[in-house]
Symmetry: C3
């Protein structure tokens, strides 16, 4: 086809309607939004005009078969069903719940469209997401005293006094640009503010901890999450969400090298080489027909069918629903937590961590063997869309072995750190702010995670030299040296 086009002989005639993006009727309110915003923020208006939201009505969407539908609510209000999903339709939902609702040229508008607003049409997805680890991502970090300690130690300012580094003030700002950029901020409304526009000065809500599109953002209506983290404004494209670049915004080396490993994998190799010929838009998504290798979404949440329409995996916006083990070790691998609210976990040492520092899992808070088996089967169902059953079994079993091996390398590091604590070389109240402690953090946050992701998704460099086994070994040796020097020298004695 490409070649035919190149050859320079194509008849271009009539039939325009086929090519024009379908247009759905636009509500009067949205038309009025567009009147100004076409010149005020033309980029997002055009982005929306090219989107599925602009070209379709939710009523039309409901007339598709359940499998093909991109809406999941059965009770979409009739007034919405008749019009395109426009500015006003989204930004006016549930206004009374929104602290960021304000009067804007005669309309009551919310600045932020929250998952609770998207729920009007996409109820099932919002419900799946709610309470999941992603939905709870801000509180997972903020409500967990241990994780807060780590975040504070890393991002707080430091000062130098008498040749020593001393802790300075804790910076929410610094956390906002690092941790909370992915985990989400709590967006609040600090009254109104005046902004100049080309028409006139206008009053708008003064949002704090904003801009942010972290997955666990707490919105001014109290809801948690940001659908736009993965379906960005204002196309809200399923294609973008299905492409690996989206997950790559947060799941990066050195702490969570999922995207890096994927890029190195055979799956990534095929997608980056041939993705331009694949269909990332279709629902349901047909293995082999629409795509010939998986992206993150394929394995972790999309509705997948065979070319004949048989379901290989149901859609879920709880991204843990096909995961039995959590390879992001804290510090050791463990069965997935039962609930997204992981700050409520208490392990045997009474810490809000899924394992103790010695590796004992907080089993009461983690899914049991039966649930693990169910989730593993779900994932295997994706694998066997292409791979033989025996291939998949061996692949998944290998992940278990790696987890066990890597956990032993964390145990060794923890034993060295414990010796440092025992010998008063370092001080365990804050386990993250001294030299050996930070080496220990690297052992599990960087190197152990790297090897695990590399095994789970086949990116061998990340298991070898790129934060892999070489680093696990070298870091352990360095911890040994550091302990030896500090334990023996008066210089370092506390």
């Amino acid at each position: 086809m490409k070649r035919i086009m190149r050859s320079g002989m194509i008849l271009v005639l009539g039939l325009g309607p086929l090519m024009v993006q379908a247009q759905a009727p636009v509500s009067d309110e949205t038309e009025e939004c567009l009147d100004c915003h076409r010149s005020v923020t033309p980029g997002i208006v055009k982005d929306w005009e090219k989107s599925r939201h602009a070209g379709n009505t939710s009523g039309g969407a409901l007339r598709k078969t359940p499998r093909e539908r991109r809406v999941s609510s059965e009770d979409i209000p009739a007034v919405l069903q008749r019009v395109a999903v426009g500015c006003y339709e989204c930004h006016s939902q549930n206004g009374s719940a929104h602290a960021d609702n304000f009067e804007h040229f005669g309309y009551d508008i919310n600045v932020i469209v929250s998952p609770n607003d998207c729920r009007t049409c996409h109820a099932v997805e919002v419900e799946q997401y709610r309470g999941s680890k992603k939905g709870e991502a801000l509180d997972i970090l903020r409500q967990n005293s241990i994780y807060q300690l780590l975040a504070d130690d890393i991002t707080r300012l430091k000062e130098v006094a008498a040749a020593r580094v001393v802790p300075g003030h804790i910076s929410e700002h610094n956390k906002g640009q690092s941790c909370y950029a992915c985990h989400g901020t709590e967006v609040q409304v600090a009254g109104m503010m005046t902004i100049e526009t080309e028409f006139d000065d206008i009053e708008v809500p003064n949002l704090t901890n904003w801009p942010n599109h972290g997955v666990g953002r707490i919105n001014p209506d109290g809801s948690k999450g940001a659908c736009t983290a993965c379906h960005p404004r204002h196309s809200f494209s399923i294609e973008i969400a299905r492409k690996p670049y989206t997950c790559g915004q947060c799941h990066l080396e050195p702490d969570v090298p999922a995207y890096n490993v994927y890029k190195e994998s055979k799956h990534g190799n095929i997608i980056f080489s041939k993705g331009a010929d694949m269909d990332f838009e279709r629902v349901p998504w047909r293995v082999g027909e629409d795509f010939q290798a998986p992206t993150c979404a394929t394995c972790h949440n999309s509705l997948l069918t065979t070319p004949d329409g048989d379901v290989l995996a149901e859609r879920s916006h709880d991204f843990g629903s096909r995961l039995w083990v959590r390879i992001f070790g804290l510090p050791y691998t463990h069965a997935q937590p039962k609930e997204g609210s992981t700050w409520t976990i208490r392990n045997a040492d009474d810490l809000p961590l899924p394992t103790t520092f010695a590796g004992v899992p907080a089993a009461d808070y983690l899914i049991d063997a039966k649930e693990q088996s169910i989730r593993r089967s779900r994932m295997k169902g994706v694998c066997t869309g292409c791979h033989a059953s025996s291939w998949a079994d061996k692949f998944l079993t290998r992940i278990d072995s790696t987890n066990a091996n890597v956990d032993r390398m964390i145990l060794a590091a923890t034993q060295l750190l414990q010796k440092a604590w025992d010998r008063k070389v370092e001080e365990p109240t804050d386990p993250f702010d001294e030299t050996l402690e930070m080496m220990w953090v690297r052992q599990w946050v960087y190197y152990a995670n790297s090897v695990r992701y590399a095994t789970a998704m086949s990116g061998p460099d990340y298991a070898a030299f790129k934060n892999g086994w070489f680093d696990l070994a070298e870091n352990l040796k360095a911890m040994e040296t550091e302990l030896k020097v500090r334990a023996k020298k008066k210089l370092f004695r506390r």
Copy 2:
């Protein structure tokens, strides 16, 4: 559309002319070049044949509206206006100024086409570039004694004598493959040399410090710069220049992680996911219509309009023209320098650096508050093509906060280094060649820059674990340890 094509029913008829790459008349001289080079260097001939230069005349280009023009000179010679922009048209310009001009099968040809030659048609762009930091990139590095010291320390050879590392000879070659590959070399002509061709032996100029296409290259005609650094030979494509891969050739982690941060950003996410559907060729470039997320060029230099043609930002080939602050800290952030010739700066310590080691800016050499405000407004004008004015303000203000916070982490490192110097642990004459000094270099060149770029362009991993706050903290701790050990031990006393 894609689906229609896949379905396998397209009528392919007539209308060929619409599809064929337009062909402009080729000059007799260029035709003669092509006669041989079609077999000698067929790749670049074909590349050119598919280019805009081959398909258009500058005369035709001048008949476009000023906004749509890709040429900016008003006085293009009539003889050039009538023909395609071919081999001879470019390689014969201003021959008398070119030390690399030589007789080549009856024609006087320059090996290198310089910005001064491109100026024949693109005068405004060349003028904007001239004297900018990019245009002066070689001298910025070469004429600055401090930067030369750093470059020499890094790239010189080292030897071992009596178990000590001692400096070996300084290698221009090593700098050529590292520093100067981006900054540019000074290309000179060392007489003529003979090369074998399939036709006959021929004489060509013997260029030194060549090949090179660094942005600040000094050419054999004395001009500075290489347009082909971003518009590569021989398509000279605006599409390539607008794509982020181009900037990614030099602006990479760990020292200038702009491209890495961009890849992780939501902007990058959208471009990498949907860029294939966008138009990177059109002039002027219309937000929303041609592209739905920015690349480097969008924010930093392209002419941008709304879909209706209103200008959001004027084109500039001075890439600092929309920047008020320089986040590439040297070592601290500072207002942009007034001139690209930054080696002429003298700070309060009489060093050619925009700030002192204590952070005091060399204000006389930096743009003032008013100019900062003008440039910030230009950048905000790009942001508000899509984002609300309040969103943009908060985003830009956040950059200021991060700069202030990160600068404090550099100050802390500098204070530790100063202690090392005070206690004769290390020696300040060369501030880059000892252990604590190199740690200090990493603090500002790697980790501080990483956090700043991460904030300026939203790549949170680069503010957290990937050369971010974790590294700023750990490195400071390591400097403290190193200082303590060396200050107390006779072993390290100088």
Copy 3:
């Protein structure tokens, strides 16, 4: 063209046959495979159906001109020539040689299709690959006692006893996920196993060290290699193999940063920016016409011609055939080895390494000056498809200079390590498992390689700050310090 389509006026009619993927007759056996596998592993069936193997017969392929052929065997069995290259055609070859051959619903099937099976149609490529470094990649690592020591040291488990890190057991599993994932495993058959299918329980061979698609995999028929490492199942696409993502699966930083450097290079810049408009499928591959910048395959193995069909480089599946020097230093650069079986090399110190630790090459095992010159000319023949002969000469000469300079930085590190051994600070029996030893490993495996690849393929950051000269210098300084501390302190004395 793109614009014309967007404009929304295309006549879509008739001519379907032109668009439909050509279909070749499918053998009865393959049809029976497909009957079940369309539902058992639908993804790979569809992938195959869209492939060249499904759309063509080898008989048809043989009717092309030799230059255009993708098959190279002259004696393809007649029965195969008449049908599409389907499941049965590949999975039934040479069954008696296959330990993994098993009876599967009435057919004798091999689980793994090996290079020896692909040889039926692609004899020349298989022959070129056989005995090359890639083909021997597993034994290169496994049969070399020095490399095994390094691999074992890195991947073995470690334990802590009395505050010391002590070696734990050697893990073949860990090597399988890291080293052998690229180098290949030896896949063996451990009897039969039962798996559940949706139809019935079936017996299949129980493969060990599987899954694996490393380039030097040893297959159950005894053959070496995996064509699917680069031409992945089940499209076996030449397009994928020619794209840089494929090589990027293994040739990554920090040890072999070829792909990273390529991405940063001007070549990569152009391919990533404009590759969507290029033709990665055509055979032979025409410089300028089909592509305007090279990928890995272009320079290292593809058959290249001018647009007029003159050969620039012959195809070879010995990926060293255009390489005169081996820049992957072990530990120093050296002439390419004569044979892929590098474990048979003995250097002057009687070690199976191409150079001694002092840098003396094992010349008897390495190609001589004449062969180096031949290979260098082959590579230059690729360069001059686009670049002037003088340009190419200078570029290639530069590589030699860099190699010499970098080798001196390895020599310096080796001299420090030798001092550590002489002074009994560390113990040379295993040269890879102690602190200074691991720093020495980083000097050549990471930093030296990085600078060399950066020079060979123009990625300046990898010569500067990204594992480049900065790291070569800093690591040397750190080795000096470590040696000084350990040599003087009783604490570290052995």
